[in-house]
Symmetry: C2
Subunit: 236 residues, 2 copies
Amino acid sequence: MDKGKLYLIPNTLGDTNPFDVLPSQVKTIIDSLDTFIVENSKAARKFIKSISPEKSQPSLTLFELNKHTQPEDLPNFIKPCLEGKTIGLLSDAGCPGVADPGADIVKLAHQKNIKVIPLVGPSSILLAMMASGMNGQSFAFNGYLPIDKHERKSEIKRLERLSKDYNQSQSFIETPYRNNKLLEDLCNTLSSDCLICVACDITLDSEYIKTQTVLQWKKNSVDLHKRPTLFIIHKA
Amino acid sequence: MDKGKLYLIPNTLGDTNPFDVLPSQVKTIIDSLDTFIVENSKAARKFIKSISPEKSQPSLTLFELNKHTQPEDLPNFIKPCLEGKTIGLLSDAGCPGVADPGADIVKLAHQKNIKVIPLVGPSSILLAMMASGMNGQSFAFNGYLPIDKHERKSEIKRLERLSKDYNQSQSFIETPYRNNKLLEDLCNTLSSDCLICVACDITLDSEYIKTQTVLQWKKNSVDLHKRPTLFIIHKA
């Protein structure tokens, strides 16, 4: 028997028309599937309904993959693939496997020789890099910075050095209610000619993307409180 | 007078139906524009025609941005924005500004306070990361590796160390006719338990994405000759 495949299905980055940010192929694939690995069942059902309103919701099988999931449950989630069924891995927001718990399932799929097919969708990391005007030939996403004041300061310094020594743009994120504090920390820690890109509410109506030097940010800031934001720095 | 905006417009990654990999918003935006910054006029006209067949081709204004473009020409390319016109920056393949010459235009747009709006489309870097099953919480794209044998070897070693010390997946590319040689070099340089993801012909019918250890690649390789490929390594 042929194995099923694992589709990686992106989601929107917030309250926006899904067809503005997802290609029609995403609908075609969701229409064809009845088994999904999801972060949260309720949110997933709502999303699937918005894409495929005609699909029967009671006939869906959903496995929840989130911080409460035990590692020993993962093989059960992809067992349907071994039995010939093609399934979907669906994010709550953005792209599965990137800044998201899905990577463990994908890793397991490779170990079991299951074909993994990623679908195109919005990634705040990629969209911010595109719109930053910084070096897109070499860039890194570093996740969250440390919370401890001294560790954070030395990590910001390290990323600034990396951006200069390797000409590599360095991006990272913060818990949204601490975004203003992070921008302040960046302005107080980086050299005044270091570039900072602030990319906020990406793909939403309130989208705000701006690259300027530390000196310019000090004169001309923005309120990022509770708005999903990606930060990128680069020192020439 | 209000300034125009700069849309960043992705393209397909090769010979595929554009609507399989681009959201409908890309068509809406292309339909609404008549001025584009492009890598190659002929390829751009063909792409625009495939998306907006009803658009008048003679009325398009195209500026060519590629390795032949002089830096002093760039301000002319975004002058229409300063005069109130919204324009598009269009890649030959994938996403503008990422592994692509468009970043210089975006940088200039920020300096001139022109609003930059990135649109969703296929990026081989992001799609490969999603499908690799490696750490997507922290990853870097490093562009091309050095050609010199010794420099290349030491760069591969450096990236392996980085992937381990910072738990950061490390991706890179090669000129497609040298892909097989690079996979060979990786297998001969990395430790036998280091993971390599080979992501080839992404979004095309011939797509091939596989993550396995160096030891497994040595036993079970693949022909990558002249196929666009992204490599990612990670040592646990």
